[in-house]
């Protein structure tokens, strides 16, 4: 992911042995997110997505919320001053049930054209977050470390 075009849209996908409803709750309720989202307490309610890490608090606009299958929201990396100054990008969570009790979760992070620092920084983050979310839902425990 070394060029601007490469970074403007990023797609991450993972299969999780859980129901769409479980995944929906895990991405919209703070008691779940704090276990895999870098300790952030994140809550989706009333058309906003509220985040809280330590002393920091911020919120983003929810563009679309169709429980338990689709969540679209603005994304601002408010935890870092340089990135926070960039334009807001967009994150889409797609939750699709598959056969055999498996659900496919896809995260599309796009509209990153005017947020190159954010684009560079989030790539490793999404991998860590999705891996942690899968582990949490399948084992009931957060990733070690």
């Amino acid at each position: 992911m070394s060029t601007m075009t490469a970074l403007s849209t990023q797609v991450y996908s993972v299969f999780i042995r859980a129901t769409p409803q479980q995944i929906w709750e895990a991405i919209t309720k703070p008691e779940f997110t704090e276990q895999y989202f870098y300790g952030a307490r994140i809550e989706v309610k009333d058309g906003r997505r509220f985040s809280n890490i330590g002393e920091m608090e911020w919120d983003e606009e929810v563009l679309e919320a169709q429980a338990p299958s689709r969540l679209v929201h603005r994304f601002v990396a408010a935890y870092d001053p340089d990135m926070a100054a960039e334009e807001a990008s967009r994150v889409t969570w797609e939750i699709e049930p598959q056969d055999g009790g498996i659900t496919k979760l896809t995260v599309v992070h796009d509209q990153l054209e005017s947020a190159p620092k954010t684009a560079e920084s989030v790539a490793g983050g999404w991998m860590y977050i999705l891996s942690g979310l899968k582990t949490l839902l399948e084992t009931g425990k957060p990733l070690a470390g």
Binding site: M1, S2, T3, T5, A6, L7, T9, Q10, V11, Y12, S13, V14, F15, T106, V108, W126, M127, Y128, L130, S131, K134, T135, L143, A144, G145
Partner: protein, 106 residues
């Protein structure tokens, strides 16, 4: 075949690794773009892309008329978290044992 089998099978082929390298350089490409960089028929490239897609290493999205291929590194991360962390754990445990032993005999 389980998920890991599919990932290792998909990675066990130099053409498919090459396709992933191309997507790593520039993500979100069409079949035609990918095909132009390989000395292979369109059908051959499609077959390899399908194996990568089944392993979850490539995700496709429609944008307008085009079908774009994206590199999805999450399955590789899962293997990392599952195996590499285990090795790290052992190393840490071995060092902890060594520390106990040395401190006990001191």
């Amino acid at each position: 075949m389980d998920d890991d089998d599919r990932v290792f099978k998909a990675l066990g082929d130099s053409t498919r690794r090459h396709l992933l390298d191309r997507l790593f350089e520039r993500d979100g490409r069409t079949l035609t773009e990918l095909e132009s960089e390989l000395e292979m028929t369109r059908f051959g490239v499609m077959k390899h892309l399908r194996v990568l897609e089944e392993a979850g290493l490539v995700v496709t999205r429609r944008e307008g008329r085009e079908k774009l291929h994206f590199l999805n590194p999450v399955p590789i991360r899962l293997i990392h978290d599952r195996w590499i962390d285990k090795y790290t754990e052992h190393r840490v445990a071995a060092l902890a044992d060594l520390k106990h032993e040395l401190e006990d005999t001191a």
